[in-house]
Point group: C2
Chain length 247, copies 2
DNA sequence: CGCTATCTTGACAATCTTCAAGGCCTGTGG
DNA sequence: CCACAGGCCTTGAAGATTGTCAAGATAGCG
């Protein structure tokens, strides 16, 4: 299936490894499982790239030759129906690992929301690397399991939550300080209202109206200029997200 | 974390292995990755059990001490909201592997629909076995990835498909002969209309009405006595499921 | 400074839900 | 063997949440 040997190349490893060593995504990505000393192995097969906003770099149904790890920016992952209905299955940011496939074909598309930096890896060469560093497989299993847990949570949201509950769930999940529901937290949203709608199984109008409601209820404030949201009532929003709210 | 050694027990392995060797689920389950000759290793840690219909054998949020493999019957996997709203995330049958957990707690509940047979495995002993048979980890990764693909497909269904499209998708997925859309196919449903509703993000009434519609449109026939459905127009149903149908 | 994207808001429509009642099937007991 | 009880399923009528269509507001960009 794969042919290129990854070992017998004899250029200076320190130079090759440089872009991986310096990569700020490494600490939180699969790349972190490769020991620093052997990072040149990874760097040799990583093909870094940068794409502009709105570039589709993974297309559902196409042959899945590569894996991707995101190093900067935000991408939306989505599935389409023939008439254009879109379901966003998730957003990918720094450190995320993309390229789930079935029978050699990608199962979703990925599009850059803003400028996105990523590394491509040929699946064949990647497999050879995983064989060398078994801890990578364990790490990937953890990633996939975490994603599966998130996917099931999203099924609950899409199948059973109201528009308000969906928005509350979404906003809380965007909050990087999820753990401490203290102080007002400011969230910067990379995605448009339309993206949020397609992620939550709603329309743009419903998203907009619901956000306005939450603002009127003094649970959040919104700044359209920089697409930021401040959570005023984290406790209340959390209760609403969990379906514990009265209305 | 785990302590019990799994190797030094000296009773006749052929006897211990018996219930695994004879198990009809082994061919399609993780258990199949353990070589037949070493099946006693697996049999020694497998704790077979049988539960009656409506027994909840996994509870969301409880400590996840065990894994499960289903050997017979059908179980529903679900998540609940505090007010009782339920989302069924999947159905498990012979060969399926259960017990996804996060931070040591189950992320969904599982309940027997009819009489369900399964094997329990302590997570600690299981890990020791996986260490011995690395192909098990690969197999588990494949399972989890397949489930993730299915979960994302279900997100598309829950977020963007109409009631008719949901029912069509569900019925097609139940058809064991999915590959060949020929001849009328008979499907035996283990679950109630209520289960189907909670799986598709609808109400019982909508499920019932939509099934009636499909019957009037001569796409299926339904037998309430044995809970069977016959697919008359597989092509049309498939088109509807994929969102290619006109109405 | 106007052009275009995105977002917001309003009025109306539709799908799906809710509430209610009746029918079907099974199993149990007289 | 038949009657009755209890699930489960189906159907109807009314209601509500969300979607659709349309127009206006705001902000970024040349």
């Amino acid at each position: 299936m794969n042919s290129m040997p990854i070992l017998p190349i004899t250029i200076d490893a320190r130079i090759v490894a440089h872009h991986c060593e310096a990569c700020s995504a490494r600490a939180i990505s699969v790349c972190g499982t490769v020991p620093t000393l052997e990072l040149d192995q990874l760097a040799r097969i990583a093909r870094p790239a940068k794409v502009a906003a709105l570039t589709e770099f993974i297309t559902e149904g196409e042959e899945s030759l590569d894996f991707f790890t995101i190093s900067s920016g935000t991408a939306r992952l989505f599935k389409l129906l023939p008439d254009g209905r879109r379901q966003i299955t998730g957003f990918a940011t720094k450190g995320d690992f993309l390229g789930l496939s079935l029978a050699g074909r990608f199962v979703y598309s990925a599009e850059a929301i803003d400028q996105v930096g990523f590394c491509r890896y040929s699946r064949g060469k990647w497999r050879a690397l995983v064989a060398l560093y078994p801890q990578m497989e364990q790490f990937i299993l953890d990633i996939v399991m975490t994603e599966l847990v998130a996917a099931q949570e999203q099924m609950l949201l899409l199948g059973r939550k109201t528009a308000r509950e969906r928005l509350a769930s979404f906003l809380i999940a965007q909050d990087p300080h999820v753990k401490e529901p203290k102080l007002p937290q400011r969230i910067l949203l990379a995605m448009t209202r339309n993206d949020i709608a397609d992620y939550l199984g709603l329309t743009v109008e419903t998203v907009s109206r619901t956000i306005s409601q939450l603002r009127q209820d003094a649970m959040i404030t919104v700044n359209r200029a920089d697409r930021s949201v401040v959570i005023l009532d984290g406790i209340g929003l959390r209760a609403m997200a969990d379906g514990r709210s009265l209305n």
